[in-house]
């Protein structure tokens, strides 16, 4: 059974640009979660989608947004990139136990 997949593996952007990260959940999982792992800040919850709806949102500004598609895959969009957005972005899918993808390393120059 395929695990959670994320693309791209690495993404380099400059300040002010927009970034789009993608996640495909494990087959049959309807919930998708996004987390940010920034150096020194640990793992912070960003967004939770289930059945196409946003269910919860972490303490992040509105320039962090996303959506979930009918096939349960998801996109995370980060607008007006700032240097401190540089981090590993992890996606997980569920029900029950959350299983994580390998992450997308976003670097903002």
């Amino acid at each position: 059974e395929a695990g959670v997949t994320q693309s791209p593996t690495h993404l380099i952007k400059t300040r002010g640009q927009q970034a789009t990260l993608r996640c495909s959940p494990i087959s049959g999982h309807t919930s998708v979660y996004w987390y940010q792992q920034a150096l020194g800040l640990g793992l912070q919850f960003l967004l939770w989608y289930d059945e196409g709806e946003e269910r919860n949102r972490g303490n992040f500004p509105p320039r962090f947004s996303g959506r979930q598609f009918p096939n349960y895959s998801s996109e995370l969009n980060v607008n007006a990139l700032e240097l401190e957005d540089s981090a590993l972005y992890l996606c997980a899918s569920s029900p029950g136990t959350q299983y994580f993808g390998p992450g997308t390393r976003l670097t903002v120059l």
């Binding site: 919930s31 640990g42 939770w48 919860n56 972490g58 997980a92």
Partner: protein
């Protein structure tokens, strides 16, 4: 507010010795607790979870964790450490506001170093 604390930034053990990685939590209601491991430049791998039932939970790779409600702790243990266990370990609790599907709230992580 819900929270998880991992009081040790780093734990050092010798190969073959028992290891313990500590975790305490604060959550309203019954806690759903998890341990994950992260190897360098990788995502998180699920180790084990406590939902209900026996206080001693067994997981992957010989790891186990003991749930202690009175001490609000969920320490990760392994009887005999391997060098390959060296990694970053995260304790997490499910946000009760999301019910059985809620997002996770993570501790800061503990770096485990196992020396030969």
């Amino acid at each position: 507010a819900q929270s998880v604390a991992q009081p040790e930034d780093q734990v050092n053990v010798a190969e073959g010795n028992p290891l313990t990685v500590k975790c305490t939590y604060s959550v309203s209601g019954n806690p759903y607790l998890f341990w994950y491991v992260q190897y360098p430049n990788r995502g998180l791998q699920f180790l084990l979870k406590y939902i209900t039932g026996d206080n001693l939970v067994k997981g992957s790779y010989g790891f186990e964790a003991e749930f202690n409600k009175s001490q609000t702790s969920f320490h990760l243990k392994k009887p005999s450490a391997l060098v390959s266990d060296s990694a970053l370990y995260f304790c997490a609790v499910r946000d009760p506001r999301g019910g059985s599907q809620g997002n996770l709230i993570f501790g800061k992580g503990t770096k485990l170093s196992v020396k030969p």
